[in-house]
Symmetry: C2
Subunit: 227 residues, 2 copies
């Protein structure tokens, strides 16, 4: 149980709770493990739980009739998902898939809503997080509407940099680069175009790629060139 406490303490959403309160939260939820590729949440189903990622990564996707998919977000440890259905009672609007082995902490609907009512600080964190997601979504809409393929791929690379990149005097190193197909689904373009754009960026000296590690040589310059 003390292990759960340490985990919960580092989840931004619960940052304002003290240990006694966190103990209560720990008791409300339970853990579940998923293998790479497992579906955690299925679109159109009714939502019954909020998920907080303990370890691993997940992608949130929407799929059309022909099976093409868009990746709406990628979440890693400490982040949560599944709150929307709980908040408005509507069906899940997207599917969530584990992109690596993952362990999740889940809280059921009823308990989560009680939590919100009991601890306004949690509601406020939640508001802040939703706001941030909305900002990201708006930026994404802008990119998809106004940028060409190069700009959209650059945008994805910069998002990855902001999210998981290691900054080091102007350079940014992104390890564990997603598959090109996934980057394409984030950028709203095709796999081939992602490949071509990445090579184009390399030729121009903006980035370097070794294995699945990508380095942006000059973050500011790259950003300015494409955003």
């Amino acid at each position: 149980m003390t292990e759960e406490l340490i985990f919960l303490r580092n989840v931004p959403m619960f940052a304002d709770l003290d240990d006694t309160e966190l103990e209560k939260v720990a008791k409300l939820g339970s853990r579940k493990k998923y293998k790479k590729g497992n579906i955690i949440v299925l679109e159109k189903e009714m939502g019954a739980a909020l998920f907080v990622i303990v370890t691993g990564k997940v992608k949130v996707v929407r799929t059309d009739e022909e099976g093409r998919e868009v990746i709406l977000s990628i979440f890693g440890s400490g982040e949560f998902f599944g709150e929307m259905s709980l908040l408005d009672g509507l069906a899940r609007s997207a599917t969530v898939v584990a992109t690596s082995k993952a362990e999740l902490f889940m809280i059921h609907r009823r308990e989560f809503l009680d939590l919100l009512a009991e601890y306004p600080a949690v509601a406020i964190s939640l508001l802040a997080e939703l706001t941030m997601r909305l900002r990201k979504a708006d930026a994404q809409i802008k990119s998809l509407s106004l940028k060409d393929a190069a700009g959209r791929v650059a945008n994805v690379i910069l998002l990855l940099a902001d999210d998981v990149g290691v900054f080091k005097k102007g350079k940014v190193v992104v390890e564990d680069l997603p598959l090109q197909q996934d980057m394409a689904n984030m950028a709203g373009t095709s796999r081939e175009t992602v490949s071509r754009m990445i090579h184009q960026f390399m030729e121009k000296g903006h980035i370097g790629v070794e294995g699945n590690t990508l380095t942006i040589n000059n973050y500011e310059e790259f950003r300015k060139a494409f955003l």
Copy 2:
């Protein structure tokens, strides 16, 4: 003051407050008038207020360096905007312009945050509203990523129908159709393409247009054909 009460009572965000509480809210805010085309909020500025629309319409836009714009949302009476900057303290992420004469009720940052802390019901409404906006944004991202021009324009028409359309046995009438340029900025396409698509939909018998009133002949069929 009683007039303000009647207005506030019909704002969904304050639906759970009783009259005494609404009186307090009324005292916290003030009204301001804007002419068509006036800028209400400017991107990059710091946000100092939340706006609730009393009468009129506004569009929320983001613009790129070359002056091309994306319309992120269109809001009408009873709806609010400007909350994001207040919640996370970051600069405004979009510009808001009056698309008609408009009167707004505004509450300053401090007062609004106090309101949230004092009335959790308001925070909950706000969570529900942000959730809905996030769902819409996700749907928009899906449409921009996966649909061709026809599908994206159809999507905009359906959004307008859901928003301001009058349903009548299968048909939906949308009056006060936005300019084609604005529809293009919502659909992430060009003005000319919007024109062409609308004519294409008319030829196929999906819709009819007279002046700036558009009629969808069979809502379900139209939706099925393009979404």
